[in-house]
């Protein structure tokens, strides 16, 4: 019963969440260089497929009801040889050549020194994001990746527990995250926007809910944002926020979560230093609102069954208010936030 309710809530809220759904996660609406190259190949392949299918259908049609002459031709072994061996050898050679050439092209795309390097670690069932600024200190975040537009991004991909797969269709292909290995992926977003990604390798339990968002923003804005994001968390301003912070620490949230600048330095769960600046809570399952924050704290196992965070049922409404207020306040003031 409450199960159903919480879900309808999620549906309702997630409608508010994203702008236009269809284009957020479609390889047919490419928004990055790599994605565009692959989309080009896709259309070529569709054309090829339709062409061959047409040939087969036509041949079958003629074979059944065609003129005696056409059927005599079709019935010859040489025809089988021509259509079954010669024709495929030619066309497939061309396709293979093009495919390999494109692979090469993709390997070279965005392979340059000043690529922005971001490490993403797949965990059941969320994404640990670390911005590896050259020289600067790494900035930890989670479930939302902000990248500068028209700049090659070099993703370092790792897995903490089981195999995951990092995939943002609007920007390019997917690469698996495999325990004990580090895989790489280069993407370049061409225009600003929010692109949805999703774990593409079945990783158990809530695999379906392991989504992420890539926010592509103008390079200048991104630099500014990253600078702010690197700073310690904003201190509580009102006393409700203060109570929230006290509660946050006393309730042991810091055992799993980090809020830079406070005693909370846990690394089991997502870093919450910038939580207030994110667009969603619970790994893109719900938009970031006070109610949803509270729901995740008290009913997290309904929102995302099997996730590691216990449900803090004992907290009183007033306490939850304070916690939510504090968490929502955790953001460096953000122009496009």
């Amino acid at each position: 019963m409450r199960h159903a309710r919480s879900f309808t809530a999620i549906v309702a809220s997630s409608v508010m969440l994203a702008g236009c759904g269809r284009d957020m996660q479609s390889m047919l609406a490419p928004k990055g260089i790599q994605a565009e190259q692959i989309a080009g190949l896709a259309w070529l392949l569709f054309g090829f497929g339709i062409f061959v299918l047409a040939i087969v259908i036509a041949a079958t049609w003629l074979a059944i009801g065609g003129s005696a002459r056409s059927r005599r031709i079709l019935a010859q072994e040489s025809t089988v040889f021509a259509l079954g061996i010669a024709f495929p050898v030619v066309t497939l050679s061309l396709l293979l050549g093009y495919g390999v050439w494109l692979t090469r092209a993709l390997l070279d795309t965005g392979r340059d020194q000043n690529a922005v390097s971001i490490e993403v670690v797949g965990e059941q069932w969320w994404w640990r994001v670390t911005y590896l600024a050259p020289g600067g200190t790494p900035v930890a975040s989670a479930n939302e990746i902000r990248i500068p537009v028209a700049t090659p991004i070099a993703f370092k991909l790792r897995a903490a527990d089981v195999i995951h797969s990092f995939w943002v269709p609007s920007l390019g292909g997917k690469v698996d995250m495999i325990p004990g290995r580090t895989t790489h992926l280069r993407l370049t977003a061409e225009r600003p926007g929010t692109y949805r990604g999703q774990c593409a390798e079945y990783c158990g339990g809530a695999h379906a809910l392991m989504a992420l968002e890539v926010v592509a923003m103008p390079a200048s804005e991104h630099a500014a944002w990253l600078q702010r994001a690197a700073m310690p968390a904003r201190a509580p301003q009102s006393d409700i926020e203060q109570r929230g912070q006290d509660l946050f620490l006393a309730a042991g949230c810091g055992a799993c979560h980090t809020v830079r600048g406070t005693a909370a330095a846990g690394t089991l769960g997502p870093d919450l230093t910038q939580m207030g600046a994110r667009r969603s809570v619970g790994v893109d399952t719900m938009p970031l609102t006070r109610d949803n924050v509270v729901r995740f704290i008290t009913d997290g196992q309904l929102v995302k069954p099997g996730n590691l965070m216990p449900e803090f049922r004992f907290l009183q409404p007033s306490e939850l208010d304070a916690l939510a207020a504090y968490l929502l306040s955790l953001k460096a003031t953000d122009p496009d936030g």
Binding site: F7, T8, V11, S14, L17, G21, R22, M24, Q25, S26, L28, Q37, I38, L41, A42, L45, G49, V52, L53, A59, T60, L62, A63, I64, R71, R72, L74, A75, Q76, E77, V80, F81, G84, I85, F87, P88, L92, L95, G99, V100, T103, L107, D161, W167, G172, G173, K174, D176, I178, G180, R181, T183, Q198, A200, Y202, G204, G205, H207, A208, G306
Partner: protein
């Protein structure tokens, strides 16, 4: 041997002695009522087999409908997350392992003897065993779903998700042991089929006259022999990891998650063609009949089959395009994927050519064939697309792929299968299936299928990943998913209609069938009874019923070979593999409890092991072995005087050495174990390339001396057995030397194993500490896996020799034993070389 003069002298016009047929009927009569479970005849077992496979098809299909219901609308709460994960895992697993492979194997068991003009499969009891094992194991495995014990790691069971850490409950163990066990039964069937096709064809049915279905089943079985061992090894490794912590897939200890994917897909990809080829064979049988003309390009089609058989083994990595392995490796397999599409092209156009050269009759089978042509071609084309590496980077693990392989598998296998049901029903049933209902069935299934699966291409391109139990409305995948769900139910309606048709018209009957209503040209269309045809004809063409006038009549009048039971037992002709020249008369076993009970106990052994009830498991294991021994005891009957099978041909009733059909079976079995071991060697070397730092320095290894000792023990064991073979003929005079030598040889093998294990533990190797230790002990484990049956067989050989059932001429049991023994010695030596030699080479 069949010299031409006698061939031309056939069919003989002499009247047959009265009562001959009655005697034949009596010998082949099936047990009545519930004792039917003791029957071993291929017609009966084959029937059960097909029925059971279809039962699993319905069960897994029901799961598919549940999946479709859950995905019909966004954020649906019809199924819980865990339930959904279990259901999609079971859907895939049951469809692939309990339906697809078994059903084609079943069709082979059922059809081949009739097509080839044999009385039965060469190893009827093995076939029965395989079937019962599959039935029991399959049902237990499926019922885990009702106890919430079903695996939920996906049908591909990727570790580390399926490791004991991330899947602690026993669902995964059910998968590993249950499926591993069912694969063993599939392999048993494959051995049966290979020997059956190569050695029990009707005289004169040379390979180039063999029905295309037999060709496909031959390739099918051959592929099983090489593909299945890979996954059996994989399941062994994963179960060893789950049960004892041997870290094959744990990166921290030098294991690698990708090893599983290599092994799994080295089985998994050929498996697709293992499923498809027999279906293609059915098509190649049905089209000529429906078009009333021989298959055009028979030769090309055989080429296509063989090429597919090999090429499909070079594709496994194209399921791993997104794992970040070097792009060059990927493109090798991309190229291979191109190569494998050639044979399919050949077959498609050969079929079209056949249709063109004749006149296609608009029957239900024809409809299903045409539907197959369309769906399979489309699936093949999307297959070419996903074989393009960059494209696959996008669509891999999306609904596009789901659509692709359903087009290939359902189109390539289910549609031909239903064509086959409608086509061959009259050969086994008093009534044919209804043409009217059949056409409705087809249109429902064809329409439903395309409505269900075509939209999935789009949902995939729009970014919907596989194996998600829900999706947010905002993604706008809802409409397409709803359409897919409707299509799925339409498809289901078609299946339901088919069941009604079966209920109304299918009347299985061994003695009196609807007969050759399609005017088919191959031998299964002569009047077949439970023992096949009344007499076994000489075949002089690919479509004997078309080319040889009155063949059906003469066969049924018993005017050809083996018109009755000569030795008073069940018999069939063993012929040479290529020319099909009669070689000897094989006396077949009749009904008996042992195969049934052996299967029950084997199944019990595996299932009890899964639930960690070790003692009962061991008990049933022992019982299973006991049953096998009892079963084998009265096998290999004593040679008789040469007999006249008719047409002036005298044949021996016994053969040993390479002439014996059981020698061939043993060779195939050795191929199976051989490829299992090669898979292990691959794993060893592969893991070294991944984490060489875990390989110890040469000085810390077990001393060379220990390896030399084990090797010496092994070699001398081999030598001893050779001597035993020499002594065998003179058993009577040489006291019990033979028995002693045989026992000694077995003991040597065991001693070598013990020496190796102790040496390794002395050297401080432990299986659970790191990957090297695990691999070292796996070698020992595999050696033990061979040693165990060898000990049992040695005991059996000794027993038979003491029981006077082994001698100068009657020596097949010993021959097969020594084949297995010497092979095992070889494998163990290779193992020693690898385990002791490689680290010294590499370090």
């Amino acid at each position: 041997m069949a010299d031409t003069s006698t061939v031309s002298s056939y069919p003989s016009t002499l009247p047959r002695p009265g009562g001959e047929q009655a005697a034949l009927e009596a010998v082949w009569a099936s047990p009545r009522s519930w004792r039917i479970v003791t029957d071993v005849n291929n017609t009966v077992i084959g029937g059960f087999y097909v029925g059971t496979a279809m039962l699993f098809f319905l069960l897994a299909g029901t799961l598919a409908l549940l999946i479709r219901l859950q995905l019909a609308v966004p954020s649906n709460t019809f199924l819980s997350q865990e339930t959904y994960n279990q259901i999609f895992t079971m859907h895939g697993t049951v469809m692939m392992f309990l339906f697809a492979v078994p059903v084609v194997e079943a069709m082979g068991i059922l059809l081949l003897p009739q097509m080839l003009g044999a009385r039965d499969q060469p190893f009827p009891r093995l076939g029965a065993f395989a079937f019962w094992a599959y039935l029991v194991g399959g049902l237990v495995f499926f019922s885990t779903l009702f106890f919430d014990l079903a695996p939920s790691g996906g049908w591909f069971m990727y570790p580390p998700l399926t490791s004991s850490r991330f899947s602690p409950n026993i669902g995964a163990d059910f998968w590993l042991l249950g499926i591993g066990f069912i694969e063993i039964s599939a392999i048993a069937g494959a051995i049966e089929i290979i020997v059956g096709v190569l050695r029990t064809r009707a005289p004169g049915m040379t390979l180039d006259r063999m029905p295309m279905f037999a060709w496909t089943m031959l390739i099918f079985a051959g592929m099983i022999v090489f593909a299945f061992p890979a996954i059996i090894l994989a399941t062994i490794l994963l179960e060893l990891e789950r049960a004892f912590g041997w870290p094959f897939f744990i990166a921290a200890k030098g294991g690698d998650a990708l090893l599983w994917q290599h092994l799994f897909w080295f089985f998994g990809h050929p498996d697709v063609y293992i499923i498809f080829l027999p279906a293609a064979g059915m098509v190649s049988m049905i089209i000529p009949t429906m078009a009333g003309t021989p298959l055009v390009g028979y030769r090309l089609v055989v080429v296509a089959l063989i090429a597919t058989g090999f090429f499909s083994f070079g594709l496994w990595v194209h399921h791993m395009f997104t794992t970040g392995i070097p792009a060059l490796s990927l493109s090798f397999f991309s190229a291979a994927s191109m190569a494998v599409s050639l044979p399919s092209g050949i077959q498609v156009f050969a079929w079209i050519a056949t249709i063109a050269s004749g006149r296609l009759r608009w029957t239900t089978p024809s409809l299903f064939i045409l539907g197959f042509l369309f769906i399979f071609t489309l699936g093949g084309l999307t297959g070419v697309m996903v074989a393009m590496v960059p494209f696959d980077w996008q669509v891999h693990d999306t609904y596009f792929v789901v659509a692709h392989f359903h087009y290939v598998l359902v189109g390539g296998m289910v549609f031909p299968l239903f064509a086959a049901f409608h086509y061959w029903a009259p050969a086994f049933s008093r009534r044919a299936l209804s043409e009217r209902l059949g056409k409705w069935t087809f249109w429902l299934m064809f329409g439903g299928f395309n409505i269900a699966f075509f939209p999935m291409h789009l949902t995939g391109l729009m970014g919907m990943p596989r194996r998600v139990y829900t999706y947010p409305a905002v993604m706008e995948w809802g409409v397409l998913n709803m359409v897919s769900t409707m299509g799925a139910f339409l498809f289901a309606a078609g299946i339901a209609l088919f069941l009604i048709d079966l209920a109304r018209n299918l009347r299985p009957d061994a003695s009196n069938t609807a007969g050759n209503i399609w005017n088919g040209g191959t031998l299964e269309w002569v009047h077949n009874r439970v023992y096949g045809a009344r007499s076994i004809p000489i075949v002089t063409s690919a479509d004997p019923l078309w080319e040889q006038p009155h063949l059906a009549r003469d066969v049924d009048a018993g005017r050809y070979y083996l018109p009755g039971s000569i030795t008073g037992r069940r018999e069939t002709l063993v012929t040479s593999p290529i020319e099909a020249a009669p070689q000897y008369l094989l006396r077949l076993p009749g009904p008996g409890w042992t195969p049934f009970l052996a299967a029950i106990f084997t199944a019990a052994f595996f299932m009890l092991l899964t639930v960690k009830a070790v003692t009962p498991a061991l008990i049933s294991g022992v019982l299973a072995v006991a049953m096998l021994v009892v079963w084998m005891w009265d096998s290999d009957p004593k040679p008789l005087e040469p007999v006249d099978i008719g047409g002036g041909i005298k044949l021996t009733t016994y053969a040993s050495g390479s002439l014996s059909h059981s020698w061939w079976a043993m060779i195939v079995l050795l191929l199976v174990t051989g490829s299992l071991y090669l898979a292990y060697v691959f794993s060893y070397l592969y893991l070294w390339t991944v984490s060489p730092q875990f390989w110890p320095k040469p000085e810390t290894l077990a001393p060379v001396a220990s390896a030399v000792l084990s090797a010496f023990l092994l070699v001398s064991g081999s030598a001893i057995l050779v001597v035993a073979g020499r002594v065998l003929p003179r058993r009577s005079r040489s006291g019990h030397a033979f028995e002693l030598l045989t026992g000694l040889a077995a003991a040597m093998l065991l001693a070598a194993l013990i020496a190796e294990v102790s040496a390794q533990s002395q050297a401080g190797q432990r299986p659970a500490t790191d990957i090297h230790g695990a691999l070292v002990f796996t070698a020992a484990f595999l050696q033990g896996q061979m040693a165990l049956p060898i000990l049992v067989m040695a005991g059996f050989v000794i027993g038979r020799s003491l029981g006077g059932r082994l001698g100068l001429e009657r020596r097949v049991i010993f021959d097969n034993f020594s084949l297995l023994y010497h092979y095992t010695i070889g494998q163990s030596l290779l193992g020693l070389l690898l385990v002791h030699g490689f680290p010294r080479l590499a370090g």
